[in-house]
């Protein structure tokens, strides 16, 4: 199976029904995308498929063939990705950090589709990403910060 991940053509010898999450983690050594629930409830495995956020734990790898997969490891390749990561650092969002790859991928997708989100927009867009450390208040603030950052 050939996949385009973070702009690179990669090959993995896996069955097509293996979730993209496990292909990324166990076969392509891209471990920034996390396993949290396996049923699309927590969002820790969020990646982009042709720019749209998806739960990699529920996405069969075969569905990603021919599409562009963007993971946290490639997030810094875009100006918006860098702005989100910078805002996360500036506001000391992370605690345990385990959910944050997914949070950041959801946040980037939100700002890509809605460059000036309100707090309500943020709550709605981020409701699928659980953080047990409850860094939610800082995530909200960091998304507003990143959305206000100059585009570069």
């Amino acid at each position: 199976m050939k996949l385009n991940v973070n702009g690179q053509a990669l090959a993995a010898n896996v069955p097509g029904d293996m979730p993209l999450l496990w292909v990324l983690r166990d076969h392509l050594n891209l471990t920034g995308t996390k396993y949290g629930c396996g049923i699309g409830q927590c969002g820790a495995c969020t990646v982009h498929l042709d720019g749209a956020p998806v739960r990699a734990c529920l996405t069969p790898a075969a569905e990603a063939v021919g599409k562009k997969v963007l993971t946290i490891e490639g997030a810094a390749d875009t100006p918006r990705g860098r702005a989100v990561q910078a805002a996360w650092e500036k506001l000391n969002v992370v605690q345990c950090g385990y959910c944050q790859s997914g949070q950041i991928m959801s946040a980037i997708a939100l700002i890509e589709s809605n460059p000036v989100p309100t707090e309500l927009d943020i709550d709605a867009a981020m409701a699928g990403n659980i953080c047990r450390c409850a860094t939610y208040q800082r995530i909200r603030a960091a998304i507003l910060e990143a959305a206000a950052a100059p585009r570069g």
Binding site: I39, C42, R140
Partner: protein, 729 residues
């Protein structure tokens, strides 16, 4: 530099330090339980080599003796050492300490090596600063020799050693080799607080970059040559045993290489998670459930309610509370029910172990090195020093990775042991629990039933206070049961038998029934339920006496200046004396207060809620005040208060593990729902300025939130909530 102690601080010799550690290690090996008073009360030795390493590349690598599980420990430890060393924040790197209780034992945990009880900063406050001061002195000594100038003419600023009169300068890396040859100074001079350059500043978290780029390495991310991934089919009920199993279909799944029986179930091994998962799905296990736990939650509560009517073991007695109650002008009583709770950290439990001729090596979000090391040593018949443990970042824990029974670590060990000697012997094994395994395999915050009574005199003053607690003891159910003295388990009664309030008379008693449900400390331990019982009952009393809940507490805290300062601060910041702003049309708003001391810190919170016309409610804002001694990093303190509030609110709104004939009803985040972003209130944190030694931060933010919310709901007109999670309808 001025000395904080004009006499200097004399080092303990290495030998003295080692002796304490050796006695302790032996204590752990003998019966895996620690003596009540372990031998580690000794003052910390300044042993810079144990805590810091300077690279030729000018990096300063700080060895962390505590687990980073989100609470900001790495940042705090680095701050303490780097400040005294005068290192530049940008040159600091972190590395987890190996399992070595002689060097890294936690004096706040009886000398065993581990992280818990919100002790990391209190334990490290002197150790890390002394190590930094010693390293600095050795760098200065080396520079003085090289430049042939008196030590006193040398200064250190942000990682640069300077001799201003001659303009000579060197960075740490350039002096590292020479400094390592210097002897560790006998006398150390620590900074005065006004000289701190990093301590007390809101420095950026040291793990930020790793955690926003996906580079941070958790146990889940470990991959070793030849490593196998193991999933275990656990018993459907606690106490069930494997009767037989059929692994033919499991072994036919592509990628599955082995199926082995272990004490806790049957493990399926494959080259990757998905294959192991498919293999486990195909496995057929027959269980012998004849001796298994078979109660339902309602049976447990019924039994606990009966016990709550009987006098228990007395944990605290001041005066004759029964007589005072009998003579009281007004009597109040209430009963509470608290459910079992899962920790449900974002990273489901996991562990990696390799066993070969060199010994055992483990990779884990390691919270109790001494215990897990001893457990693996016993399992494999190895001396503890041949069990190496690599402490990685933990994706949360909230107490779950600090298990005196080493459950998941030993489970991984048993799989490795079952493979040893066979064709797969020596291959590293990564045990991965699915979310469902994590939710259902036990070690919960115990369920409790409380019964409280109070007597008021004619003026509305509390003259009698009785508090009875019924539920499992956490220490009493663990290999540490030797620490339970006189039948009183602090993991049940803390936060109830040590209240700061001046009640006329009081009695706290406890029943600790045994139950086969595995239980464990859960963020803030006993305070997670005791604060709720005490603080909501106080509001009930205030209402009955026609008192303002804040005034009542101010009166009960007379003479407790630290508590009073926290209470006054939260009242001021919450505008307590001003009317609460109205909400949307039809909403009923309310404001509630709670205060609690835990882990040597005092926290007070005011919660604001809105009850909608349809009976649903929101928590809109929480104002929080905290005294945690000197705030090493005020932004980390704020983050921990926010996190404690969010974690506690999550449980208050919907957290409950329930049993149906012994089976756990919940399995994943769809039916064990947790706080999500739209439910997170705005949180304002205010820190009481303090120069006292640091106290706990990771846990103390949690206990006040549930009672503050419940008190706010009552003020908004809801009935008093006596059973968690909160249900208004």
């Amino acid at each position: 530099m001025e000395s904080i102690d004009s006499k200097g601080i004399v080092n303990l010799s290495r030998r003295q330090f080692m002796q304490g550690g050796a006695a302790l290690t032996l204590g752990i090996l003998l019966g895996r339980a620690l003596p009540a008073q372990a031998a580690a009360a000794a003052a910390p030795a300044a042993e810079p080599a144990a805590y810091v390493r300077i690279g030729a590349d000018n990096s300063v690598t700080i060895i962390a003796q505590h687990l980073e599980m989100g609470q900001g420990t790495y940042t705090g430890l680095a701050t303490l050492l780097a400040d005294e060393m005068d290192a530049a924040w940008s040159q600091v790197r972190m590395e987890g300490a190996p399992a070595d209780a002689a060097r890294y034992g936690n004096r706040k945990m009886g000398g065993m090596q581990g992280t818990g009880g919100s002790t990391a900063m209190a334990n490290s406050w002197e150790t890390m600063r002394r190590a930094g001061a010693a390293a600095r002195a050795m760098l200065v000594a080396a520079a003085a020799k090289q430049w042939d100038v008196p030590r006193g003419t040398i200064t250190v600023r942000e990682g640069v050693v300077l001799h201003d009169p001659s303009g000579r300068r060197a960075n740490f890396g350039e002096l590292a080799a020479a400094a390592a040859r210097e002897s560790v100074p006998e006398r150390l001079f620590l900074k005065n607080p006004h000289e701190f350059t990093l301590i007390g500043k809101p420095l950026a978290r040291i793990d930020n970059r790793d955690k926003v780029t996906g580079a941070a390495r958790y146990t889940q991310d470990v991959k070793l040559p030849g490593m196998l991934v193991a999933l275990v089919q656990h018993a459907p009920r606690f106490g069930a045993k494997v009767a037989s199993f059929d692994d033919k279909a499991a072994r036919r799944v592509k990628g599955v290489v082995e199926v082995v029986q272990i004490p806790s179930g049957v493990a399926v091994l494959a080259g990757d998670f998905w294959s192991a998962r498919r293999g486990r799905d195909a496995l057929r296990v027959k269980w012998d459930e004849s001796a298994a736990f078979a109660l339902s939650s309602r049976d447990i509560y019924a039994r606990y309610r009966e016990l709550a009517k009987q006098p228990g073991t007395v944990a605290r007695q001041d005066g004759d509370a029964d007589a005072a109650l009998a003579g009281a002008a007004k009597k109040l009583q209430v009963g509470y029910e608290f459910p079992f709770l899962a920790h449900a950290a974002m990273e489901p439990l996991n562990c990696v172990i390799r066993l070969d001729s060199g010994g055992c090596e483990a990779w884990n979000g390691e919270q109790l090195q001494s215990v897990d090391q001893a457990a693996l040593a016993e399992l494999f018949g190895l001396p503890p020093e041949r069990v190496k443990i690599n402490m990685l970042y933990a994706g949360g824990s909230f107490g779950r990775r600090a298990n005196p029974a080493s459950d998941y670590v030993l489970e991984c060990g048993h799989i490795v042991k079952a493979l040893a000697g066979g064709a797969l012997g020596g291959r590293p094994v990564k045990l991965v629990w699915t979310r469902e395994d994590d939710m259902r395999a036990g070690y919960y915050r115990p369920a409790y039933v409380h019964a409280l009574e109070a007597g008021l005199d004619a003026q509305g003053k509390i003259v009698a206070w009785k508090h009875r607690i019924v539920g499992q003891g956490i220490l009493a159910s663990s290999p540490f049961k030797a620490r339970v003295q006189d039948g009183i388990d602090p993991t049940v009664v803390k936060g109830a038998y040590n209240l700061p309030y001046g009640f006329g008379t009081q009695r706290v008693d406890v029943h600790m029934p045994e139950l086969p449900v595995p239980v464990l400390w859960w963020r803030s331990v006993a305070s997670s339920h005791n604060a709720y019982a005490v603080e909501t009952f106080l509001d009930q009393i205030a209402a009955a006496a026609g008192r303002d809940p804040a005034d009542l507490r101010l009166e009960l805290l007379a003479g407790r200046e630290r508590h009073l300062a926290v209470l006054r601060l939260v009242l001021e910041k919450a505008d307590w004396t001003k009317p609460l702003a109205q909400g949307a049309p039809g909403d009923k708003r309310g404001r509630g207060l709670a205060l609690h001391e835990s882990f040597d810190s005092v926290v007070a919170q005011v919660a604001e809620v809105s009850i909608k016309a349809d009976g649903s409610f929101t928590v809109d804002r929480v104002v929080c005040a905290v005294d945690c001694g000197l705030a090493i990093n005020p932004d980390v303190v704020r983050a921990q208060m926010e996190g404690g509030i969010g974690y506690g609110l999550s449980a208050a709104l919907s957290g409950a593990i329930t049993f149906n004939k012994g089976r756990v009803d919940q399995s994943n985040f769809d039916n064990y729902t947790v706080l999500r972003m739209p439910q997170m209130p705005k949180v304002d944190v205010h820190i009481v300025p303090s120069a006292a030694a640091p106290t706990g931060v990771g846990e103390p933010g949690l206990p006040p939130i549930a009672p503050a919310v419940a008190n706010a709901l009552a003020q908004a007109g809801a009935k008093r909530i006596t059973s968690l999670p909160i249900k208004l309808a």
